[in-house]
Symmetry: C2
Subunit: 297 residues, 2 copies
């Protein structure tokens, strides 16, 4: 359990075409009083300014995959994002003794993820924070990555505490006023929670939390040259977090055949049809729905 959370980094523009976080960080920079809380100090950061200027996810490679320890310490990696990652790690990190006590990294997705919290780890502190947000706003869902508790290459991994906020469906390069407001609301709720905790006030947290635990990802059907042969099936499109059972359609080939999900367990796909994941060979991420008992702190 962290002693106190004194410095919080609010990060936008880790991906240069996800405008929600970019414009929210710009707003906070223009109106810093919005972030004032009695017991903590906020830093704001536009993580990938060149990609923001170019309105592209990245210039050389995905910045949010540049924060693995071995990459941060590898002087041979000199692309724009690799250099930027080292600068950000110097500012917010290092991982073993970070300058930022908590990091909130603001993202959007073309998948229909609604308001999703991806905790920086499964540390009870992060899960309790996520549960607080879920209790406050029942539309908030909580998702843990496959590597949630190990060294990950995500920016949020610079600090053990905090989360990524992922909202959507939003097309890249587009501002959505609703999601902009809801993301801001979540940032304020997080700061309020941290501020209360710092001051020893107890905010209501339920005894358990539904977590969507990522177990694997599924690529699109491709031919031997790697070309797509199918799209997400219309029955699955925009159905993030809904149960998918053995035999239910996953893909529709360009010649009209349905390709079903085959698996013994019911899964809950997320990041369905995320534009940026075609190149990562991810059509969707499969999760299992888990009920996690929260440790008292």
């Amino acid at each position: 359990m962290p002693s106190l959370i004194r410095r919080v980094a609010i990060v936008g523009g880790t991906h240069g075409n996800e405008l929600t976080g970019i414009y929210l960080v710009k707003k906070f920079q223009q109106f810093p009083h919005l972030l004032h809380r009695q017991s903590l100090e906020c830093m704001t950061l536009l993580a990938n300014p060149e990609a923001v200027a170019a309105n592209r996810r990245y210039i050389d490679r995905d910045l949010n995959r540049c924060f693995a320890n071995e990459d941060l310490s590898n002087p041979a990696l000199t692309g724009y994002e690799d250099r930027r990652a080292k600068e950000i790690a110097a500012q917010l990190g290092p991982k073993d003794q970070p300058n930022a006590d908590a990091i909130i990294d603001l993202h959007s997705t073309t998948a229909n993820m609604g308001l999703t919290i991806l905790p920086s780890s499964k540390h009870p502190f992060n899960l309790r924070l996520a549960a607080y947000l879920n209790e406050l706003h029942p539309l908030v869902r909580v998702c843990c990555g496959v590597k949630c508790d190990r060294d990950t290459p995500m920016l949020r991994s610079l600090s053990p505490f905090g989360c990524t906020i992922e909202v959507g469906a939003i097309a890249h390069g587009v501002l959505n006023a609703d999601y902009l407001q809801q993301t801001e609301m979540l940032v304020h709720a997080i700061l309020d929670y941290l501020d209360a905790m710092n001051q020893g006030k107890i905010l209501p947290v339920p005894p358990s939390l539904t977590v969507y635990q990522a177990i694997s990802s599924v690529d699109y059907p491709r031919n031997s040259s790697g070309e797509l042969q199918a799209a997400i099936h219309p029955h699955l499109q925009f159905k993030d977090y809904e149960p998918l059972c053995n035999g239910e359609p996953m893909f529709l080939t360009f010649t009209g055949e349905s390709i079903p999900y085959r698996g013994e367990t019911i899964v809950y796909p997320i990041f369905i049809n995320e534009a940026a994941y075609y190149e990562k060979k991810i059509a969707m991420t499969l999760t299992e729905k888990q009920q996690v008992r929260l440790e008292t702190m």
Copy 2:
């Protein structure tokens, strides 16, 4: 009225991140028999292959703004898209005596445009074709640009006959199986119509057609540095083709104020929040709804 439509060009990938047209053209290239019609010949074209490979709208500038006569004849324009436009004009044009008797250019948009037909001009032939599609599929809407009947810089302007098909809302870089199928269905309906007409068969066309006539475009509120100060208002987001009256909200500023539409006439905004139009300073295009009587041919 054209004598006969013998050569039809089906174009995708004019914008390299609009996957609907790209994958449909690839499908037609793989299965050319799908395009066989008794009285006409189809060419398929991936218009901007470098942008397709880069999964970006364009490399140097928007290819679909490179086809004005003065640009096509300007040897000083040597960017990738300018060179590509000249190649395409040599293949499908020239405008005064085109090789392609008709052009169907396949696009998608992040705006909620459903299935939209943008005729290459208001020539009665094009309007009757659009009316046929609208009769066949009532969800099809027909929209004419401000410069619909003059020299335009769009690829479709290489031939006086044909249209652009614009489908959405689809995020750029994303395949949507539903819209892929519906776009294919529209291409087939167009080819069937042209084939029937070539053979002197009369297909049913209603006596009049609803046309959304573009009258102007509206930019986002910006500060003196050109930075956005507002997003599309949540009440207007995804409401393409719906009536907007004086006083109804258009934008929501980042500080929470609503900015209404001010105008005496009811307008029907389209291309609301198209990602690619932020840089063109277009938040939406305003149209007037017109009832156009169709000339018999």
